[in-house]
């Protein structure tokens, strides 16, 4: 008897284990059979400033809609009025991603979300989702300063702008960059949702669900207030939004003592500046070729051309090079640097600044002519006017030996949007902005996803290996090298250098070509790898050297995203390579140079870099000493806790839990209701039967046994 029960229990256990093994190993869950998850998602997120919210929002449990591909006008009518299965999830062909269509979608209640196909086929001649007047409220022109020039009354800088990036959408908008993924969606649409002979398709239909629920609402003031309340009173504090922040990169021809803040004695400084960032409609997508890369590459090549001469034959004035981050969002980086200068919290202050030369968009030179923009209001002052005229004549004399022509636009024209405007807000210093446009921008894709290498005419002949492409000198590279030579010579003259040294100052087109390749096509190239620290080159998927071109969106900085933004690091290490000296310090000495008496941590930074790869793939890292520094680029509004500030940038980015997309088949509403109804009916029926049986229990079950009924 005992042996039988043991045998049975052992068999039961074996059966159970084998059943578990079978289900767990196969793991074909029901969820995987229903949903096809889309891996690469490029969302549009919510950004907030002092008064508004922009971007896109989905519901907390995602927005679901029946797929429909928007290819023709009749599709648009189907989605907005005549289709029988609203709400629709629109797959938008490139040609339809414009203001009129998106506004109609915004005002319709039949649209659950939009997935935009990003491709060059069907792309219009121009597309700029930015506003027509970038940064109009935080520049220098206002009611009190050049009021007739404020709000682009003088010149509309971005006339092709449709302002889509600054609209607030209540449905999610995703971008489809991967061709294979778009194919999956199209196939699902063609299999299930296609209209047959003009009649509506039948259930089950292919549907897509987009999740991009943003936590922050209304504006930065509200969001920061709620974050503060959460931090003070909640058990589980949740941050709702983060200020946009990162770092500016600066260097100088004569090292400046970083620990001595405030006015630097006997220093008269010429500032050469450009911007480091860009943006587009979608999150973290910003190729920014003409808008930003042209400026960065030109200034880096300028530094490379100028640095050796300034060490051999130093000009009287110091030249201060600065790369400002966050300029797309109301001048975050430049306003912070000016604020620090005014507060005596920076290595120099406004009294040290002699003049300023900014490099704007210089990539699309038509007819090889550059334009020098100046500020008409400050030039009403005689001394400023003479300084600016002298600056212009120096630039023109520097251009004499080159194939470029430099001209200045009409005197009454205001400055284009530039970091120089923030310096003018603090003090009327003489300065110029170099650009390739006379009046409005020549960039037809300003701050959009299409401002890429092709927009800058950086294309390589087919059949080149990556290393060959790295050093191939395109026409764009040669043109930017010319501009860099011009800027370098002008800066040398502006700093008071001798004219006979000018011929030694030439930008190397090879370096320009390498920079263009690294910033526009592929950041994981052999040159960048040799400049960066060893741990960066070895890291896995999330390192800053992932494949493809770098994206120039400012992001949330070190507090949220780890070490500094990839572009900031690249520029920092490139500058270290171009201006630094190799030392023979060991790695630990490189991390702590203050212990050595020959090294000065106040004047220099020390970088441990990989070095070039030798033939058999090994690298010998070494220590570079350079006077390159990072300075914090977060808007002063967040330091002053004035979240509703009108003077400083107040841009924040909302937080979110998950952003994903998936497609699946949906059944009709009637079928769903029927299934639910049947289920509820079965439940009620079972309750009734149970009640009935339990109330008649003695009758039903008493005849089975002869046991005496126990009275209760």
């Amino acid at each position: 008897m005992r042996k039988m029960t043991d045998l049975i229990s052992i068999n039961c256990v074996k059966l159970l284990i084998s059943a578990l093994f079978y289900t767990c190993v196969l793991c074909s869950s029901v969820e995987q059979k229903i949903y096809v998850v889309l891996n690469e998602t490029v969302p549009c997120v919510r950004l907030l400033n002092a008064t508004h919210q922009i971007g896109c929002q989905s519901s907390i449990s995602g927005d679901t809609g029946v797929l429909h591909v928007l290819e023709t006008e009749s599709d648009l009518d189907w989605i907005l009025s005549s289709g029988p299965h609203p709400p629709y999830m629109v797959i938008m062909e490139t040609a339809f991603f414009n203001r009129s269509v998106m506004m109609r979608m915004k005002n319709s209640s039949r649209v659950a979300g939009v997935a935009v196909i990003i491709s060059k086929t069907g792309l219009a001649d121009n597309f700029s989702p930015h506003t027509t007047c970038p940064n109009q409220n935080t520049g220098v022109y206002s009611e009190s300063y050049g009021s007739d020039l404020a709000n682009c009354n003088g010149t509309v800088w971005n006339p092709l702008g449709n302002g889509l990036s600054y609209e607030d959408f209540s449905f999610p908008v995703f971008a489809l960059k991967d061709e294979n993924q778009t194919q999956v969606l199209r196939k699902c649409y063609e299999d299930h949702n296609q209209r047959v002979n003009g009649s509506a398709p039948q259930y089950p239909l292919c549907a897509m669900q987009l999740f991009s629920h943003m936590h922050a609402v209304t504006d930065t003031v509200t969001c920061m207030r709620r974050t503060d309340l959460q931090n003070r009173f909640s058990i589980n504090p949740e941050v709702l939004c983060d200020p946009l922040s990162d770092f500016n990169v600066w260097t100088s021809t004569r090292p400046l003592n970083n620990s001595a803040k405030g006015h630097a004695a006997d220093e008269s400084v010429v500032i050469a500046a450009t911007r480091l960032d860009g943006r587009s409609f979608f999150w973290e997508q910003a190729p920014a070729a003409e808008g930003t890369v042209s400026g960065i590459v030109t200034l880096l090549a300028t530094i490379q051309a100028l640095y050796p001469v300034t060490q051999e034959a130093p000009p009287p004035r110091n030249i201060f090079f600065s790369f400002f981050q966050g300029e797309a969002f109301d001048y975050i980086g430049s306003s912070k640097m000016v604020y620090d200068m005014e507060k005596n919290d920076f290595v120099i202050d406004m009294n040290n600044v002699h003049s300023m030369l900014e490099i704007g968009q210089v990539g699309l030179l038509s007819g090889r002519s550059l334009w020098m923009h100046s500020d008409p209001v400050s030039r009403q002052n005689k001394s400023v006017d003479t300084e600016v005229s002298e600056m212009m004549s120096r630039i023109q004399s520097a251009a004499a030996g080159l194939k470029l022509t430099v001209d200045h636009p009409s005197v009454s024209q205001p400055l284009p949007p530039s970091s120089f405007q923030r310096f003018l807000r603090a003090r009327r210093i003489p300065g110029l902005v170099l650009a390739d446009h006379n009046t409005s921008f020549t960039n037809r894709y300003y701050e959009s996803m299409y401002d890429d290498a092709e927009n800058l005419n950086v294309t390589y002949p087919p059949g080149l290996t990556p290393d060959e492409q790295l050093v191939y000198e395109t026409d764009a590279a040669k043109s930017l090298a010319e501009v860099a030579t011009l800027v370098a010579r002008s800066l040398y003259l502006q700093a008071g250098g001798e004219e006979n040294n000018l011929n030694n100052i030439t930008a190397d087109p090879k370096i320009v070509a390498q920079l263009l390749y690294g910033f526009l096509v592929q950041k994981n190239n052999s040159w960048f790898r040799s400049l960066l620290p060893p741990e960066v080159t070895k890291k896995g998927v999330n390192s800053i050297l992932s494949p493809g071109p770098p994206q120039f969106y400012i992001g949330l900085g070190p507090r949220v995203h780890g070490p500094a933004h990839s572009v900031t690091r690249f520029v920092q290490y490139i500058l270290a390579n171009l201006t630094g000296t190799v030392t023979n310090l060991t790695e630990s000495q490189c991390q702590n140079p203050s212990e050595l008496s020959t090294e000065n941590k106040d004047l220099f930074s020390y970088f441990w870099v990989s070095g070039p790869a030798s033939v058999n793939g090994t690298r010998e890292p070494f220590c570079v000493r350079a006077s390159v520094r990072l300075s914090k680029a977060v808007s002063p509004a967040f330091e002053l806790l004035e979240y509703g500030s009108r003077n400083y940038s107040t841009w924040t980015e909302s937080r979110w839990k998950s952003i994903r997309a998936r497609i699946f088949l949906v059944a009709s509403r009637e079928l769903e209701m029927l299934t639910l109804g049947v289920g509820v009916a079965v439940l009620l029926l079972s309750l009734l039967v149970t009640y009935f049986i339990s109330s008649k229990a003695e009758l039903l079950f008493s005849s089975a046994r002869e046991t005496p009924t126990t009275t209760y």
Partner: protein, 113 residues
């Protein structure tokens, strides 16, 4: 053991076997306790003693129990009215009140005003 005696709230106390004076003192205690901003005690009072007060044959203490039950019901109705009004106003206007609304809230929903 029939299903009707399954119907109880809170502690299982069968009022059948308690003497009437104790029933009265229990009812009084619940009535007085409800004044400490505890309207649920009044709710319990009403539901528990309703049968005692109105459906049972008369006994001496029933008059007082009846008055307590009536007064508890009145207090309950007032509380319900006040709370419903306040909750409706708050839910409707919290977003518009901006800062004041946030300071009055314990948890603020994410992503909506």
């Amino acid at each position: 053991m029939d299903l009707s005696s399954v119907f109880f709230i809170g502690n299982i106390m069968n009022l059948e076997r308690i003497p009437n004076e104790e029933k009265l003192s229990l009812c009084r205690r619940y009535y007085l306790g409800g004044f400490a901003f505890l309207p649920f005690l009044w709710l319990v009072n009403v539901l528990w003693f309703f049968r005692e007060a109105f459906l049972k044959p008369t006994y001496t203490e029933q008059l007082q129990i009846k008055s307590y039950v009536k007064k508890s019901a009145l207090g309950l109705i007032v509380w319900v009215a006040v709370l419903t009004t306040w909750i409706t106003i708050f839910q409707h206007f919290r977003a518009q009140w901006g800062e004041v609304g946030d300071y009055l809230s314990f948890t603020i929903p994410l992503g909506t005003a």
